[in-house]
Symmetry: C3
Subunit: 138 residues, 3 copies
């Protein structure tokens, strides 16, 4: 059993890859076969496994979620009551409900069984810089 608390510094909404940090952690643990659990300790950012090849995928993902859950300054969000922490705060909570807070990734012979195009990301939903904590466990 090994556990790592990984800190990720974010600079506004977007995807922050940490696939290599997860691979390093697995390599340094004694675990050979099993499952890695990934858990994010916040309610205004998410985890995401997505394509790591073409940057347009990440741009479009961000655009889709911004349209699905716009800032509360958008008239479509007039019904939102939680407004004290800024126009990006309640949309961040909603996106954190829609996207994963935990992931379980099998590994074999010390290698994560991610597919060829799968990268591991923190998806930051807030505008201002944040320090986020992700727990990795094998």
């Amino acid at each position: 059993m090994a556990m790592l608390r990984l800190e990720i510094a974010t600079r506004g909404q977007g995807l922050y890859e940490f696939t290599e940090a997860a691979r390093d952690f697995l390599r340094e643990s004694d675990a050979v076969n099993g499952v890695m659990t990934v858990f994010v300790r916040h309610t205004s950012c998410s985890l995401l496994i997505q394509e790591n090849a073409d940057p347009s995928v990440q741009r479009d993902l961000k655009a889709f979620f911004r349209r699905l859950v716009p800032p509360t300054t958008d008239p479509a969000m007039d019904y939102i009551t939680h407004r004290d922490e800024g126009p990006d705060d309640m949309p961040a909570h909603i996106k954190a409900a829609l996207l994963p807070v935990s992931l379980s990734i099998p590994f074999a012979e010390q290698r994560l069984l991610l597919g060829t195009w799968q990268g591991l990301y923190l998806f930051e939903h807030r505008n201002s810089p944040h320090r986020r904590e992700v727990v990795l466990h094998v």
Copy 2:
């Protein structure tokens, strides 16, 4: 290894917190470090980790999902064919697809590594009272 089948009685759509029941279960098990699995055995309610501080967050979450997936009496849902079990049934299945059915939460020294603001909820999507079963495993 320890397992608990937790029964939660719901009284209509909304969030029902069970963070304390999960903490109690962990304390009473022999597990010190590891991962707690949470699994809900239904297709018309969900699990959710969300902010447990300000009740307006929960009100807005409910409002968002009611707008994203309205009852089938709403003209926007005219294309829905599964209608025999009431106007809240198919929307409940859709919300159960969009929101988590299982969660994996690491713990260390017998303490769940939830973030400061993270609470553990059952999100009921049906209007009438239900008895829901959540399986906790460490």
Copy 3:
């Protein structure tokens, strides 16, 4: 510990059940009590636990997600920039973000603790046939 790499051949968008394959794998392993991890190694299809009784539920689920994330030929998707791989590709990535890539299902006495109506599915988001790989681990 046991692991299976399950291949699922898909023939266009829709739900492909593999509940029986998961039950067979569990029966053939030595595991009695624990958690099964299910992980899909792709970024354009998803896992889903949903009702396996009434086919209208699956039809409506497909219809909902097609409306929420239409093909990029739909004017509502004009903002999408990732278009080289066809009108169903970027919507597939978005649906793969919205729906689960991993599931954790407890089992007891060699029986998966799925609810009465819960079936285990691969949700294919692409139009053309694909060979998909799902990793099962107990």
